[in-house]
Symmetry: C2
Subunit: 503 residues, 2 copies
């Protein structure tokens, strides 16, 4: 059933896409150069790109600047102290009356390499997904044109080097077809988005001349779960904390001290469990205060969007959802409180009969418009205090631990940023919609994307609106191990970027 729907949509996109000359040119170019495009992508994905790995981050930035210089853009690294470089590249257009920024990021989420089936920085083509037992297809011997259902596995294959490769390829196609830009086009590639974009505001503020524009188009995230092109007019904000509970100074033998020594894993479980009710609603007082309501247009867009829930549940082996009967698209308009990781002593082969000394949950909170990230963390901290805890923002001292029966620390992991939402009715919103549809057919419109991008930093610093236009497949395992991109999404993305660049 699902496959039939996808075929229909692909045909639909073909029909509409023909109306955009840059997209048509992009397709022709891609069909003739798949091998070269893949080779360049593999080279880019082979450079490790975790934000704290400064040496490799620099290599990425230089490689990307070189890619755009090769395509005739003026490229430079914008460097501020203690920040990863932002790659800036520009195509100036004589007589242009507006400036458009295309944004992506070249850093990737942290990872544990041992969890990956292929090493995360050894891009690996498979004929199907790993879940479907996809087999490795060496690029050297692969048959071209590629089966568009193939997947390329590597960290940032989807998130977020794919748009960078797609933009560069779109420039090749436009040049070959003799198509010119109409706006000044600025490419901005951030190097620490997955580390919370802590320095983006500062970098933008220090170089307003480079970064100001009429609109920022954010090329990050996945398209709709129905594989339809998505345009999102906002994104949830995010802030990340580490919550740790403390037991005895050292791990204790669970026999000799079990029942007597406080178990921090149980303390953590009790705290976390108390923070959400059965329906998934966060019980921290004030958590939902101040949320800006959706406009009528936004409500209509949600009502018009396809409902992928049932297919998604089957794809993900789910027998239920957290916010049921709420639908995915409605639920991501709400803030979320998510345990992204939890640990205490050891499980598996290294586990032993101890009472742990500490237990930690790493928590990300997704924020919607009207919520403040600082206030949200304060409310969570206050809530924990209300449960009888002495709460510190540092590793508690021996004295602090001895003075209180229940001790926890809440440490900000990534300060993050707030949510923003661009009204769908604005002329620029309408024009972007039309452009995307001319390349990709009928699109799905969402007021807010579930994921987070540092729109706030852009809007607050530059006073510029942002609109998100993703290209990755939804089933890309982004942020997890075995991240991948579906080849058809890469091809579609090239056509999309050509349309945006020629806006």
């Amino acid at each position: 059933m699902k496959r039939v729907v996808c075929v229909f949509l692909t045909v639909g996109a073909l029909a509409w896409g023909q109306s955009n000359p840059a997209s048509v040119a992009a397709r022709q170019w891609r069909q003739a150069h798949e091998r070269e495009i893949m080779a360049e992508f593999v080279e880019l994905l082979s450079i490790p790109n975790i934000a704290r790995d400064k040496a490799n981050i620099r290599r990425n930035a230089e490689a990307i600047a070189a890619m755009f210089r090769k395509r005739g853009a003026q490229a430079q690294l914008v460097v501020e102290p203690d920040a990863n470089p932002v790659v800036f590249a520009e195509l100036k257009t004589a007589g242009a009356t507006r400036t458009i920024v295309l944004y992506a990021h070249y850093d990737g989420q942290p990872l544990e390499a041992s969890e990956w089936l292929n090493p995360p920085f050894t891009p690996t083509l498979r004929d199907k997904t790993i879940e479907k037992d996809g087999q490795v297809v060496p690029l050297a011997t692969a048959k071209f044109p590629l089966d568009p259902e193939m997947r390329l596995y590597a960290r940032s294959a989807s998130d977020d080097k794919a748009p960078i490769l797609a933009m560069a390829t779109a420039l090749d196609a436009m040049k070959a077809a003799g198509l010119k830009t109409r706006s000044n086009i600025r490419f901005v590639f951030e190097g620490e988005e997955e580390a919370g974009s802590a320095n983006l505001g500062r970098i933008l503020a220090a170089h307003k001349d480079l970064f100001s524009a009429d609109v920022w188009l954010i090329c990050d995230g996945p398209v709709s779960q129905t594989r339809q092109q998505l345009v999102a007019f906002g994104a949830r904000g995010v802030t990340t904390i580490n919550l740790t509970t403390y037991g005895a100074r050292r791990e204790l033998h669970s026999g000799h001290y079990g029942n007597w020594a406080p178990n921090p894993a149980m303390m953590l479980a009790r705290l976390l469990a108390s923070m959400k009710d059965d329906s998934g609603r966060v019980r921290v007082p004030g958590f939902y205060d101040g949320i800006a309501p959706l406009s009528e247009t936004e409500k209509r867009a949600i009502a018009d969007a396809p409902v992928p829930d049932k297919d998604l549940m089957a794809e993900l082996w789910l027998g239920g959802t957290e916010g049921a009967p709420g639908r995915l698209l409605d639920l991501i308009q709400q803030p979320s409180f998510n345990i992204r990781g939890m640990s205490s002593s050891r499980t598996g082969a290294g586990a032993s009969n101890v009472i742990p000394a500490t237990a930690t949950a790493s928590i990300d909170m997704r924020l919607v418009k009207g919520m403040d990230r600082v206030k949200t963390v304060e409310r969570v901290t206050e809530y924990i205090r209300g449960q009888g805890y002495f709460v510190t923002d540092h590793e508690p001292s021996a004295g602090e631990r001895m003075a209180h029966a229940k001790v926890a620390s809440v440490m900000l992991h990534e300060a993050g940023y707030n949510a923003v939402r661009t009204p769908m009715e604005l002329p620029i919103s309408q024009e972007v919609m039309r452009t995307v549809e001319s390349a990709r057919g009928k699109v799905v419109r969402w007021p807010t994307m579930g994921g987070s991008v540092p729109l706030e930093k852009i809007e607050d610093t530059l006073g510029t609106r942002t609109i998100s236009i993703p290209m990755a497949n939804h089933d890309n395992s982004q942020h997890s191990f075995n991240e991948n991109i579906r080849i058809q999404n890469l091809w579609d993305g090239i056509e999309l970027m050509a349309a945006l660049i020629s806006m």
Copy 2:
């Protein structure tokens, strides 16, 4: 204050200990041979001894058999299919009317080597504990006699190779002093106690001729937290399970799916939190059913025992205890439900913004007399079902996951064994008490030790009573990283073992 108490106790022990000739001989021998004793211990501790590491387990068994053969005992490895060897050594005594088994185990708890300050199988002497910034003292240049407050760090330094070394050294001392045994003495060293003693019953049953005795003296565990010698007339049983909750088939981007995809870490937290009340009492129906009450003698022993709680809280940086106002010694007479480890996706540097796919808690339950380990696991499983979960004892299939909103698995990690308790009034109990006091001064008597030893397998298979006589310091980090033994405890243990061997 605490230090003053310890000094007093040491003096007390000296005074009493002089009444046992074998102990006196052991002390004299040890004082003259500290360097050689340490060298032999280091050699033994250098052989890795995790139960699943079959090759090294064999090396341990052979080394220990050789140690006792060298001392004139008849030693052999008792090998059954799929089981780690039991080292058996015997000193036959002409005309003896009884047989005493001294039991210890030579395997150690599983570990993560990266957590250790020195490699776990590179025994390392320090002038003080690591907590007190103890510095490494190379054995080659150490001053002898050693400062008795020094610590030797290595896996099984306390648990449970120390008694093996102490027994072998006691034999040297007795031989040098011309002291003879009065009973037949059998040494039994198990090789998979820390893996749940799954095969011990089978091995004992197959070799009753070797293992039958009038009493088994169990040399495992720590002495009282006041550093006084302990005799324990029972031990809690134990059974270990892994409880896993399931979310989506793969980790999901926490932005795009947060609020919609079930979070197995939160599911696990809610389950665990519901299983104990605020006072630490287990809420699983029937958990406490059938517990055998303490006798008047046992109650009196507890009332007479020192109360280390306050000193322990300071030592462990605790501002409160789980079962407060209950005291440690009372609380370990009750069964416990302990989270020994917990994990879900990643925390720390490798953490990323995902909704985990699974979450696991490793749980050990300590059982007291009258409880059945199988029934206890069943009750926990039933309880989880009662919380609306579909519970499997295997990795759930795609179909099982899709058919149920809440899916968990409960897998038996180590079947374990039940608790047993030997009456304190028995003649053999009284005689063992007198013997230990003749070596170590006034001892603390506990009806039940908090930790677990496979007494049930011994008593059920052989019909023999068991009494536990530990020698390790309580602050030994056994089962955790940085396990160690306090040198004075090693010395005391040699005197203790000499007294037991000459019983």
